[in-house]
């Protein structure tokens, strides 16, 4: 086992990895940017080192600096988390060359699956179905226009290095194609440093279903079932669950076998995810492979009773998986909601603020993977995801009820979040009926408004403002505590 792991990430995933390391008895080194000096992962790790300024290129993407810090602090492994350098084969190679273990697949596997264009070819060769598309790497815009016409509109422009919805455009007609290509390239160049894009047939409102893979260095490649991640906004998942209502045991076996075949084809090692999309008739197509830990891994951990992050670390340290496919079975149902600093009533626009009120839900089968603490500043430098709320229960309807209650018990004020709309989503009859696809948010919440306040809300707002921050001193009420407002009001009790 490793001696000390550098966690090359921030936010809740860094906190998650620190927890896994602790349970394995491995020391941790957190790294952080100047904007994150007060972040939770910095507070929780055994040691912490500043990488540089807030800008990711100078901190969390600064490969040379991260390697320098790893050596300075005597780390023998680096866990990249997800995002940032997690799927950067060049970084993985540099880590390897520095004599440090990169916790993830071999750089060659990443090369073959990291970019979407070669990944499609690999999946096809492994016998998995792929979406009709066009992926000539050196094609001109004229070629794209011709290819799009051949595939048939609507088509999707995607960044080869893409992820998280960045560098992605849906194009309904030829007149929109040029602008979409330009915009996608610009966004891809900015986000991934590679402007290569490709075309795919746009499958209208598919389900997004993915298979979790776990592969060791001893030839064992297993799948841990599916996750359905169809509830998305801005092409980014916000609610995920397992099992999917659209997958029965026979289909799980088929999709699992395809996923295992793809992983084997690239000699994959570690935890990875094969993403598929499924059309309304149940046909599924390979979408991409994420050669890293996935944000929504906790739902799989719940139903399989396995710690995927610990297994990433144990596999990287050379351990062999002690169980076979037949020996692992899912139990119950798990749902995850991603809590983000964003305003659903303003097109999910990211929000900044200070965490003034934080209530964390608990109870049986409730897990919160979070970067939050009271008093924290939420800035605009990084991804707006703040936390993930995950529940596990005996069946889907019990899990939905449990999630609804946990969302109600959770409280986050001071920064506008999506908690309100998440509670509405899991309470929606279409969600209960399993009628989930990537058009869900657009279909049910295209004109989402915050709930209309009634008289009691107005009274509460007025009372709170008048008591907790009078106009004269309200600028000082920033920490949420009243200066001394009660004296003026007589006998109001302060409980």
């Amino acid at each position: 086992m490793f001696h000390k792991i550098l966690i090359a990430n921030r936010s809740e995933v860094a906190v998650r990895i620190i927890r896994a390391c602790r349970e394995l008895g491995v020391a941790t080194l957190a790294v952080y940017s100047e904007a994150d000096a007060e972040a939770l992962h910095v507070k929780q790790a055994d040691e912490a080192a500043c990488l540089g300024p807030a800008e990711a290129a100078l901190s969390y993407l600064n490969q040379a600096r991260i390697l320098e810090v790893a050596q300075q602090y005597g780390c023998d492994a680096i866990h990249p988390g997800y995002g940032f350098l997690a799927e950067n084969a060049q970084f993985a190679r540099r880590v390897q060359e520095a004599g440090i273990r990169f916790i993830g697949p071999a750089p060659d596997s990443m090369d073959r699956m990291g970019a979407k264009i070669p990944a499609r070819a690999t999946a096809e060769a492994a016998g998995a179905p792929v979406v009709p598309g066009f992926d000539a790497a050196d094609a001109s815009d004229t070629d794209y226009i011709k290819a799009a016409a051949d595939i048939g509109y609507p088509v999707m422009v995607k960044a080869s290095m893409g992820g998280g919805g960045k560098g992605m455009r849906i194009v309904h007609s030829e007149t929109e194609l040029q602008a979409a290509l330009d915009g996608a390239r610009r966004e891809a160049e900015k986000a991934f440093g590679d402007a290569t894009v490709f075309l795919e047939k746009y499958i209208v409102d598919p389900r997004h279903i993915e298979i979790q893979i776990l592969a060791d260095g001893h030839g064992n490649t297993l799948h841990l079932g599916e996750r359905e991640c169809s509830i998305q906004r801005r092409h980014q998942k916000i609610v995920e669950e397992t099992p999917s209502t659209a997958v029965d045991p026979a289909l799980r076996e088929r999709m699992g076998a395809d996923a295992v075949a793809i992983a084997r084809a690239v000699g994959y090692e570690g935890a990875g995810t094969i993403e598929f999309i499924m059309d309304s008739t149940g046909n599924y197509y390979f979408l991409e492979m994420n050669t890293r830990l996935q944000v929504e891994h906790p739902v799989t951990e719940f139903v399989y009773g396995l710690d995927i992050v610990q297994w990433q670390i144990r596999i990287a340290s050379g351990e062999e998986l002690p169980f076979s496919q037949a020996e692992i079975t899912p139990r119950g149902h798990s749902i995850e909601c991603r809590i983000c600093a964003e305003d659903a009533a303003q097109g999910f626009l990211p929000q900044v603020g200070n965490v003034r009120v934080l209530r964390e839900p608990d109870g049986p089968g409730v897990r919160l993977d979070s970067m939050l603490y009271a008093g924290q500043r939420i800035g605009a430098d990084y991804d707006p995801m703040l936390a993930k709320l995950i529940v596990h229960a005996e069946d889907r309807s019990a899990a939905i009820r449990r999630m609804g209650l946990a969302l109600r018990d959770m409280g986050l004020l001071g920064v506008t979040s999506n908690l309100g709309i998440l509670a509405e989503i899991v309470d929606h009859p279409a969600f209960a009926a399993g009628k989930t696809d990537t058009g869900f948010i657009a279909r049910h919440y295209s004109d989402y408004r915050d709930p209309e306040p009634g008289i009691p809300e107005k009274l509460a707002a007025g009372l709170a403002a008048l008591i907790k921050g009078s106009p004269v001193q309200r600028g000082d009420s920033a920490n949420g505590k009243a200066a001394d407002p009660f004296n003026a009001y007589g006998n109001w009790s302060n409980t």
């Binding site: 009120v357 605009a380 004020l413 509460a460 707002a461 006998n491 109001w492």
Partner: protein, 168 residues
């Protein structure tokens, strides 16, 4: 005590007349409402109104009051006393809502555009956000050039509402 609030396009004035033993009378735009059993702590408020207890998590900041009850969230803007009746709803659509960078300005100054025309692409958190014309009107200019970093509340487009020339 009196304060003005906004919620969406709605505005209301609230006057509070404190009583004793956790009672108060509040007037919303003149109409009176009585509450009792008022209790307040750091970030919670509860009171009885029309025979029912209401409990909220509250967060009072300089520019807004946020409330949460069950799984519903409410946000009220606080209108500073004596201030100009702030930005019109039209103009507020042209303000940056978050820190970001002006990536592109799309329409030549002086041009007349219809409501919904994309005017500015703002980049924030590595995503592109398009700022659209809230109404038919004329783009007078851009206070912040391409590549400029902007903060929440910064005006992105100098815009005036105008019917199309000659259409009157």
């Amino acid at each position: 005590m009196r304060e003005q609030f906004s919620h969406g396009s709605e505005r209301f004035e609230l006057v509070c007349i404190p009583g004793s033993e956790g009672r108060a009378v509040l007037r919303i735009d003149g109409a009176a409402f009585s509450v009792s059993d008022l209790q307040v702590d750091d970030c919670r408020i509860s009171f009885m109104y029309e025979g029912r207890i209401y409990r909220y998590d509250v967060c009072v900041e300089h520019e807004r009051v946020q409330l949460k009850r069950d799984s519903s969230y409410y946000s009220f803007g606080r209108i500073e006393e004596g201030s100009e009746d702030e930005q019109s709803a039209d103009e507020s659509a042209l303000l940056s809502r978050m820190p970001g960078t002006v990536l592109r300005t799309l329409v030549q100054p002086g041009q007349w555009v219809t409501a919904g025309t994309a005017l500015v692409i703002l980049e924030a958190m590595k995503m592109e956000h398009t700022i659209e014309a809230p109404l038919d009107g004329v783009v007078n200019g851009y206070p912040h050039a391409e590549g400029t970093r902007v903060m929440p509340g910064d005006l992105l487009v100098d815009f005036s509402r105008e019917e199309q020339a000659g259409s009157i």
